[in-house]
Symmetry: C2
Subunit: 681 residues, 2 copies
């Protein structure tokens, strides 16, 4: 841990009088005078401070560090933090835990970039007081010398207060010093433990002699929706649901109202841009396209425009802006898809052929993953000679939609573009619109997913979609929320997407849809569904994890109020999430032992521990499962010797439990889950 | 991971043609062109590179990192390293493990400060070759375009070789390119996998487009004795062993010969300086000193001198230098004690009273740990106003003894002086005598012990002395050798010291002395005993962990060949350590399952895995213990379906074992341990 003076502006007060002989040749320069407190292993730190730790407005940041020095002196330490653009500093004392570990907590009230730092010093006053007490306890008879030393400390701090023109403090310190000088041995303890005396001695201690962590550690504060959000994805062109009439932005309100009733707050639309015609894919991703086939919205760009245009069949940009506003009026917001795919018809192909990959004969390459060919997509070359204009253009694309009111972007396949590009783009956008959020659709290897979180994505898709057994779920949710990933990666749990109908949902009963929704909505703080989930759509393309007659390639026919739907269940789920602070905190997940491994149980608490939620889920969608679950009552703050009550918020029932071990029985047909709130005793 | 160009001296070759519009205001500047490989989680790193990882000459350094990029390109990565004072760079290719983790290994041939760095890039040639093969495998008929692309890559690299005036390489690459141009599809794989072609394409690839870890990560290479050493401590004044005649340096050779026979290579002498007379402690640490009492060597300084002098009763500085040379002739070396304690009679008290702590009346303070008083010791104030001269003086003290041939210092209580002071002192000494080693006698809290290792101490005392049960030993040895401490902390295991006769040795039989010696000598690579251990001295001051009639305060009477001594056992132990490379490696310790928890078993291997040693110890010094132990044969490279032989190097016996589970029986009276060498089958 390198050091710097605490006061970033002041020059060093007391110049060293004389350099020791060998100083000039020293690789390890003589450290600052009296700087003898060590600070190390500071958490949170993401890649040694290269990237920020992420938190949201109002969320607790707990900072810990190893703080120690030679000898037996008493140390004082404070956590300080400041906005990078402001430097107005706040601070709070740190407290010692075990084994030289210290901690402090703080919260941030505004979006933005902050840094925190730790300052620690040998506290002369506390050291003196501690030493004095040990002498008293050890039966030392005369403490005259030690008393004089104490009085001198008061005078030193008083002089410092005076020099800073705080005459009242100086007077108070001198008065306390005089009282100490006149005190009997028995009075000293009370005198030197007076709160005001302690405060003033801490305030006027000489912090220029303190160790301060160099540079500070970065924290990026986002708005709460970065952490807590419920997403609903639908294809605007299918909202009329007759399987043939192309829906328009102006037709979307009923769908948004329905999502609102279900408690969602983010409406995510697949790409809204003109869809390419060349090599357009047909229904079920066939290579030949029949007349009237609408194509995949991810093949972006046509004669009518590229990423700055909307598909004419959806309406106009004004219609889109109207939809953004109508959604906002309803307390929700629109997220759009930022998919950097160009169809052969995209204007870039004509205007910027230099941005694409080329064959030796000069023609532009379509996407390939040999032996697979994607003739309807031309990938951009992020390292082409004109890369700077290309990157800049991408920023201006996002800015275009920010200017039209969009503040959430779901980014398609970010892992196929350079990480450095995303770091650049997100930082650029945050400069003028710091409240903008990005969700990474990166279904790829773990290190890349983590890297995207570190460099700025607010949320990420996850492997949740494929985690089925209790063991898998516990391992994965623990890795996400209890390890260092919690500092830079916020998981958004999706039970399905237009690309993925996982095996466990195929031909599955509604109970499985309720089970996976409950897991998604309560294991993480952000979750989402792709529409049709609430209708329990469960028909796969045979042998695949894709939907049959996928909406990606056609206008889908549906009954939005199909009998057997689970809209009310989902609405209740989202309602509970909004009411219970415990479900809005990300890193507070604790699993509960259950004897039956088809039952998964866990609990979450609000950061003040006043709100405690226990979730119990039957992972078996077909048969009733029963189990005893073993609650860690002490950690939950429950007296193990008295009964207590829990309220099932999903099914409006109250259970009276006694002791740690309690029996649950979950029939998937009627009650596949418990979401229990601990009632005050 | 920040980036810098690979070649530290060259300026950037291809200047960006044009800055994108937003560049000027960018907090995250546009990264270097094509720099799209991410490198993170590099190990080893000590505090994010603030401190070096420590290795010794010839020892393997294994570097690992997460290396990945967007998309499906093939990555190449190399580990490079260079001496800080030299910059001549060596490098070796890295290899991919699982999950984007890569590794490479290197060794260092000389003492000194090094840095290592990782360079990784999208390998155009390997990417092209991989892509080509996938197309072949996928049945693509015409590969004419792809072949042209390959030929172009050969030409690009040939041009680069030519520009660097490597005409032969350029010609070879062009020839290979021409061969490729003329090749049939079936010939391409063989052509492009030719070793010389691979080598040249890797050599002349464009590394200016690579990601390089910024700054590099520091490594400090020490001499082998930093890692592998066997210490023998004795008090020169007691060598005559009659309990009254003060031994001299010139009397020490028999003791050193004896230590040599026992296989020790470091002779550690407690402080050799004049001992204070004021408040000198009497026998058994009593406050009053009888006439003729010799006092504690740790109360340094008298009328005859301070830390630059030797106690006159031991002889002269010339005598000491003679002893250093005689010891060296015998293939061993002298370590002295650097104890920054001043007796009231130390010359500093007269010449530099400003270096001590003072009472308000101006008198100098003696050491206290209230209510305990140590009137025979004046502590130095490392933060006094004249601290720079004090620190400088300490460096010159050590230099004084370095100039007299000492290259190992055992540092007394380093944890009571500032960590920053030690960092400064050790760095200063290493400038002119980089082979100098420091052993930290820091019996204190873990974070401080770790900090001293990080800032430069080569070795440290440990808690081994108090770890008794199998569980305690496994936990502690694992923490030391298998966690991140292995990179900066080398444990020196001492079963006893002049300060500590642990409970398990008190009144204990010789078997316990053999057991603890075996554990110390084989769990770690450095170990030591304080003389008398080989004689199984086991009498404590009643109720304390101290020796009765401690040698710290008197001249001890002994029979150096006392019947029942374990000198032969210790000699064998050290001999085995020298013969078996597996026992000279620190971080290769693996525990073996044993059914009886009084039996501890572990194995170690040389880094080439040719030498495998299994140690089995009966922790019970009184009764025979038997157990089945379960060897991880596959990891050991033993065919589990065939029998194999192990040789007990301590007791010259050969056992024929079959399969993983084998029976051991250890009678503490005859055979308390096995040290087994796996014999080649």
């Amino acid at each position: 841990m390198a050091r710097k003076p605490k006061n970033r502006k002041s020059s060093q007060k007391s110049k060293p009088k004389q350099q020791p002989q060998r100083k000039q040749a020293t690789a390890v320069p003589l450290p600052k005078r009296r700087d003898s407190v060590e600070i190390c292993n500071v958490t949170p730190q993401v890649e040694g401070g290269r990237h920020p730790a992420y938190r949201v407005v109002g969320e607790l940041l707990r900072v810990e560090a190893d703080i120690f020095k030679d000898g037996h002196d008493v140390i004082s330490a404070i956590l300080g933090w400041y906005a990078v653009n402001d430097q107005k500093r706040q601070e709070t004392p740190m407290q010692a835990l075990d084994n030289d570990r210290w901690f402090a907590e703080c919260r941030f009230e505004e979006i933005g970039a902050y840094r925190f730092e730790i300052t620690a010093w040998m506290d002369e006053f506390l050291t003196w007081r501690h030493d004095f007490q040990r002498r008293v306890d050890g039966g030392q008879e005369s403490l005259a010398t030690e008393t004089i030393e104490g009085v001198q400390l008061f005078e030193k701090n008083a002089a410092r207060a005076e020099a800073a023109d705080h005459k009242n403090d100086a007077a108070a310190l001198r008065k306390a010093g005089n009282a100490l000088a006149a005190a009997t041995q028995g009075q000293v303890a009370a005198l030197t433990h007076e709160l005001e005396t302690e405060r003033l001695m801490a305030l006027w201690t000489d912090r220029d002699l303190a160790t301060v962590t160099a540079e500070g550690f970065p924290v990026l504060i986002e708005r709460p929706a970065a952490r807590f959000s419920a997403w609903y994805e639908f294809f605007p062109r299918s909202v009329l649901a007759d399987g043939k009439t192309h829906g328009k932005f102006r037709d979307c309100l009923p769908r948004i109202e329905d999502a609102r009733t279900m408690g969602f707050d983010v409406i995510y639309l697949p790409p809204i841009h003109p869809i390419g015609e060349s090599h357009r894919k047909g229904r079920n991703n066939t290579v030949t396209c029949a007349p009237g086939d609408v194509g995949s919205p991810w093949a972006i760009g046509a004669k009518t425009g590229g990423h700055r245009s909307v598909e004419p069949q959806l309406g106009t940009i004004e219609d889109f802006e109207w939809l953004v506003k109508e959604t906002k009026k309803r307390g929700m917001e629109i997220a759009i898809d930022f998919a950097i795919n160009c169809s052969p018809d995209h204007p870039y192909v004509r205007d910027h052929p230099e941005w694409f990959f080329h064959r030796p004969d000069g023609t532009i390459k379509y996407a390939e993953n040999p032996p697979k060919k994607y003739q309807d997509i031309y990938p951009l070359n992020f390292h082409c000679d004109d890369w700077q204009n290309l990157w800049s253009e991408m920023v201006s694309l996002v800015t275009f939609w920010v200017d039209r009111g969009v503040r959430i972007f779901r980014v398609d396949n970010p892992h196929t573009k350079p990480v450095a590009f995303w770091e650049y783009l997100i930082a650029e956008i945050r400069k003028s619109a710091p409240e903008t959020l990005f969700l990474a659709e990166a279904f790829t290897r773990p290190r890349m997913m983590q890297a995207l979180g570190k460099i700025g994505f607010s949320q990420s898709y996850t492997y949740f979609t494929w985690r089925e057994t209790r063991e898998e779920l516990i391992e994965y949710a623990t890795e996400l929320t209890q390890g260092e990933m919690r500092d830079y990666y916020c998981a958004n749990f999706w039970p399905n997407t237009p690309d993925i109908l996982p095996h466990h949902l195929q031909h599955a009963p509604p109970a499985m849809f309720k089970i996976r929704a409950t897991l998604a909505a309560t294991l993480s703080t952000s979750w989402g569904i792709y529409s049709g989930y609430e209708l329990c759509e469960n028909q796969p393309l045979p042998g695949r994890e894709e939907y049959l007659d996928s909406e990606k390639y056609q206008i889908t026919e549906r009954n939005w109020d199909k009998p057997g739907n689970i809209k009310a269940f989902i609405g209740r789920l989202n309602h509970i999430r909004r009411e219970q602070p415990a479900l809005q905190e990300y890193a507070n997940l604790h699993f509960i032992e259950a004897d039956n491994d088809r039952i998964i149980a866990y609990w979450k608490h609000s950061d003040d521990r006043q709100n405690i939620i226990v979730v119990v889920v039957n992972l078996d969608a077909h048969d009733t499962q029963e189990s005893t679950i073993h609650l860690p009552l002490e950690e939950m703050g429950v007296d193990p010797h008295h009964g207590f009550a829990v309220e099932d918020l999903m099914f409006d029932e109250i259970y009276h439990w006694q002791g740690a071990s309690n029996f649950v029985s979950l029939d998937p047909r009627s009650k596949p889950v418990h979401i229990l709130k601990l009632l005050p005793s």
